[in-house]
Symmetry: D2
Subunit: 412 residues, 4 copies
Amino acid sequence: MSKGTVVLAYSGGLDTSCILVWLKEQGYDVIAYLANIGQAEDFDAARKKAESLGAKKVFIEDLQTEFVEEFIWPSVQANAIYEDRYLLGTSIARPCIARRQVQIARQEGAQYVSHGATGKGNDQIRFELTCYALYPEVKIISPWRIPEFYNRFQGRKDLMEYAEKHGIPVPVTPKAPWSMDANLMHISYESGILENPKNHAPSDLYLMTKNPEDAPSVPDILEIEFRKGVPVRVTHLKESTSKETPLEIFTYLNEIGGKHGVGRIDIVENRYIGMKSRGIYETPGGTILYHTHLDIEAFTMDREVRKIKQGLGIKFSELIYNGFWYSPECEFVRHCINKSQETVEGKVQLSVFRGQVYILGRESPKSLYNEELVSMDVQGDYDPGDASGFIRINAVRLREHHRLQGAAQQKY
Amino acid sequence: MSKGTVVLAYSGGLDTSCILVWLKEQGYDVIAYLANIGQAEDFDAARKKAESLGAKKVFIEDLQTEFVEEFIWPSVQANAIYEDRYLLGTSIARPCIARRQVQIARQEGAQYVSHGATGKGNDQIRFELTCYALYPEVKIISPWRIPEFYNRFQGRKDLMEYAEKHGIPVPVTPKAPWSMDANLMHISYESGILENPKNHAPSDLYLMTKNPEDAPSVPDILEIEFRKGVPVRVTHLKESTSKETPLEIFTYLNEIGGKHGVGRIDIVENRYIGMKSRGIYETPGGTILYHTHLDIEAFTMDREVRKIKQGLGIKFSELIYNGFWYSPECEFVRHCINKSQETVEGKVQLSVFRGQVYILGRESPKSLYNEELVSMDVQGDYDPGDASGFIRINAVRLREHHRLQGAAQQKY
Amino acid sequence: MSKGTVVLAYSGGLDTSCILVWLKEQGYDVIAYLANIGQAEDFDAARKKAESLGAKKVFIEDLQTEFVEEFIWPSVQANAIYEDRYLLGTSIARPCIARRQVQIARQEGAQYVSHGATGKGNDQIRFELTCYALYPEVKIISPWRIPEFYNRFQGRKDLMEYAEKHGIPVPVTPKAPWSMDANLMHISYESGILENPKNHAPSDLYLMTKNPEDAPSVPDILEIEFRKGVPVRVTHLKESTSKETPLEIFTYLNEIGGKHGVGRIDIVENRYIGMKSRGIYETPGGTILYHTHLDIEAFTMDREVRKIKQGLGIKFSELIYNGFWYSPECEFVRHCINKSQETVEGKVQLSVFRGQVYILGRESPKSLYNEELVSMDVQGDYDPGDASGFIRINAVRLREHHRLQGAAQQKY
Amino acid sequence: MSKGTVVLAYSGGLDTSCILVWLKEQGYDVIAYLANIGQAEDFDAARKKAESLGAKKVFIEDLQTEFVEEFIWPSVQANAIYEDRYLLGTSIARPCIARRQVQIARQEGAQYVSHGATGKGNDQIRFELTCYALYPEVKIISPWRIPEFYNRFQGRKDLMEYAEKHGIPVPVTPKAPWSMDANLMHISYESGILENPKNHAPSDLYLMTKNPEDAPSVPDILEIEFRKGVPVRVTHLKESTSKETPLEIFTYLNEIGGKHGVGRIDIVENRYIGMKSRGIYETPGGTILYHTHLDIEAFTMDREVRKIKQGLGIKFSELIYNGFWYSPECEFVRHCINKSQETVEGKVQLSVFRGQVYILGRESPKSLYNEELVSMDVQGDYDPGDASGFIRINAVRLREHHRLQGAAQQKY
């Protein structure tokens, strides 16, 4: 007699394979669900593996397009970046994956969902907040937080033994001395030898980007066209080729960025759970878009709107990082940011070269840039005398402050 | 009979030489004041030139050390950056220059100050707000905003003619088709052919940084040590050389950054005066410090303090850009930011290579990073079960929101 | 030969009557425009006066309804309040008045607009920024900033003499020793004897509200119903009467608030121009709505949305105060705030009594308040054990901080 | 054999008396700790009761002075207010109480602390975060979150039975149909019949303030003097009496405020735990100080400093409410706010009358208010012509925006 049905976010790897079997051992029916969000994976093999381990059903879902359109694009609009450095590649993947997981659970009448995220990380929160938000009555089984599970599997060795005992295929290649998470947007690396924040990352760690030392000696010059703050076309100017669908655009930017070693960072970040952790990320296409969108936005958006929107973008980034993609406040902020992008339109030319993105120029039918107004050579509709009054009035407050301080001049 | 004495911010160039003579023509005694903030300039020649043009006195002031310690260092602490991209190299030089100008004016009993900044730019504001703040009763003569002046000198040709007529030495090399401003921190380029935001910058424009295409194929690995958020030592790890005074540190970072083509940006920014303008900047040492300070700060500062401090840093950047270095609010913000830096201490190792700064690792006696706590291999003082409650409580609000929305599940 | 046509914001009072005549003297055709935004005024008499002074045309425009719906309502949604105290009654009237002025100017082919606001105040900015925003090529004549005008009219005596000389009817009642500005939302009092911030306001100053000392000894109990953050009905519970159109609702709240002496404040505020000024305001209906809207909003809006919206409301208030109602950023913020109000719906019961507004209770079909969840008597869908984990995880960061500080316990 | 020693935050009431006995039942030694923070309580009786129940030791600590100086005063400086309405009277008491509890625990070698706060409220968090922050290795026993406890005591009836059985004196007066929490700063009322947010509060609920209907018909006119943002003297102008120590000042303001029914609010607020709850508060002295401090601050603080400080104050309020008084970020914010108060000095005159606080006037040796500068009658050091330039430059951006929108005039 089954305790009920669990939809398990299954990766095909050792951990979630063991979890699948363990859940069955506990008396659950298990539906294995594997989201394709662009990671390198043999999905057919994974399906067979899950079936062979006793999954009642297996769902392998290609979420790549919705990942780009509904998660990456809003992040590009927001210039989303956590703590000034991290482009949130894992953070935005989690709600995308969990949303489908919940849909499957509802559709299959499953009361439970489960995942293999650890008990110290951010991902458990991102998965579960999404599940609770979209399926409030769901029950979540998080084995790495259940003492019977984590006490039994205290290290990789225990998992290997369990796998062998239960006929779970065991990886033949030795595990890298760190863990990684890959999707269309990025690969992240953490733990293992990277846990010592002083240790330099080995140069063979990166899988998505070439070492800038080995990058080609000739830049690629691209033109990216934006409408409403999202890219609608990327053109390679020399090759005169272009991409126009969201998935093609993003994949192509990954390719070019990867070729030139763009988007590598090594940071210490603050987890929602209150710890500092060290993470290494490579985000080639996302990095190109980050710089390019900043440029077209500054070109077309009013200064003061930009300032308010910048604040909303920082808030948005924090919400995403902490797992609140599906929350009333994140929906509100997304709406506002999207509104701000109405005029963010135009073309940016850029050079991708040896780890860097260089903005070369930009044009837009909606720019607030007024060449005549700003020109040093012509007057435009501008009276320089106005600036005197502007400065004098701005100084009223400063002069009053000084008057009060009295001896302030001595201070300087 | 003199109308009074003017302290003129004199650069040695054509514009301020003409202004010097013109001010004398208007009946003022002129004191020429030239600040050395690290620009390439023949200061002796400039002194002689000013004297020959009839300056009553000439002050040539070496402000390099105070520029680094009192203006660059606080900006490093703040991660000061305007509109996400511009490191404010010109903005922080202006109050440094104007402060001394005002000191000289007071000391020499001059009622007037003057400068050669244009009527459309930010610098007029930065100069004048500083002057009004520190010398509230000063009178400012800003020729480029005075119709008699700017109508007489409508182009470079008019200045050249005036110069010839008044024995002002005329530059022999043709002027670059853009204007530039240089100091220890950066060189900025704008106007002329750069006014069209679509035009790519010519590759020979940059003077402070090498073209990344021609940069060495071997990185330089540095270690920068911080105390209270400012660098106190930089060490070249392979060469085992190090620098320890502020000016030496910054100069050395400029050298290394320049060698590898670090810190070039091409942006459109929003002037305080309400226009968008296009600027190109190269900030080699400042860019290295920006990335390095971000790293040591994230490593040592509490997450929530960081968030508040980030907001203050954005405010600080805007204040600096707009000319409010000497204002009650900027003093307040500087105080707060400085307070936040008390524990920002430690060493960052980094690689400077082909236009990029790569952080490699970091260590600190004051880090909040707890390797055991965050480890995936050991438990540390952490109970994973706590995370369940944490997530469930965070979900209370989200589930209520969903409950209210009722049909929300259909939405997704 | 006319210099052109000026649309003058005409109040019917001495100042703008003199300005009307003075503008004609300067060679302009003058169209007098008088907005009815609820001030006590004999509009017919004002029309005749303007005609008799030589106005080419006279426009008397009833803007009361649009003032309530398009200016007061968005301010209610925003909980707009400047510097924590001032409800912005004058600030929001200015763009309303100037918008129509500009419409008339366009329609009548007038190139000029003019107003009687002083050169030290906020209103000149609010008028003129609205005009420039909506009619960028307009020319503005601001007599109180023109030396020929303000040197000629240095005091009220000069205006009186000019009036007598030019057949301008002179007020028969002596002027109050302060100036005031009245509209549907409030009356403001400033200058004159109020300029000394220590002076108490005389008790006969207030015109819109009764002295709380003389207010009735029985409260009025109202119920205000909101939809999308604006009141749609107000009911007097004992009298069972109700009002439903915006103008009627607001007028009625003024009446009840006025009767009980609600909404008087005496403050020092910071003008955009950099000065501190002292203002006294009475805003009866606006004060009732401020408290009531805060209540229904807190009842129906998610906590985190509220926090973000609060920040936007502060920004909005500052923008309004400074004259930026018609600006890209204010339009953006209004849009976002309006979006946040979608679920702000329900009824609030309140007592208006002797200078105060007391909230008594509230109900809403869209509330996020869950009586069972919050109850101390029943469990609801809530496990108290979750709070332990929540607290423990929130403490991770605090305990780490303490660990680092080491001797911190001695500190306390 | 004892399980160890617990320091229990003991109130003398039924709940914590039962907890005391229950803890002993569980095998702990119990130290009873009762903080005097100004609540009405027979402390001697409470001591005897605790001793009779078997407390190993009893600590009754008078924290009133430190509560005013270290917790209320910083809140006054910050204008601390949660969600625009709640003056945080309970929130700031918790860290004050818990700090001493932890000191006692350390001093007595107790490894445990315990309290009687419920599992749905904010107070559990405020208590425990303080304990973890100041005594990271402490173990906390929170009976209302322990199933064996809360399942045993499902209602007041169970507690009464347990009390009778264990010789715990049972209250003779029937419990009010709500719960309350009292201290020097305020009394809060919640739950019971108040849980329905539509129910009006009964008029006999309030204990600290008189019903405004019954308040005297003559106002009390006070003068409060501030230094560094905190009150240093309060004077009753008619009676010529004054108070000068923090505790006396605050107690006196409570008395005057209470007499006139000042500081009653009925709100719905957002708990940290994610629920909305309804609370009724009376904060007589705190309300007087809130209004008075706002006034002296606006009078003496620069506009832009005020804006930044306002943001910090909102953050501070949220931190306090959520229990983070002892956190790195709250310490940082307190430091910054305190810095901002250096010039907040002067005297405010005010009238306390029938539920309201009316500011009448203010004076300060450090005010930035410049009567001559702001005067409508004299020019002061101000050129009205400057405002034209100020407005024109501020309009540059607005006119550009309009230019781009093209058909915008039709819009209006």
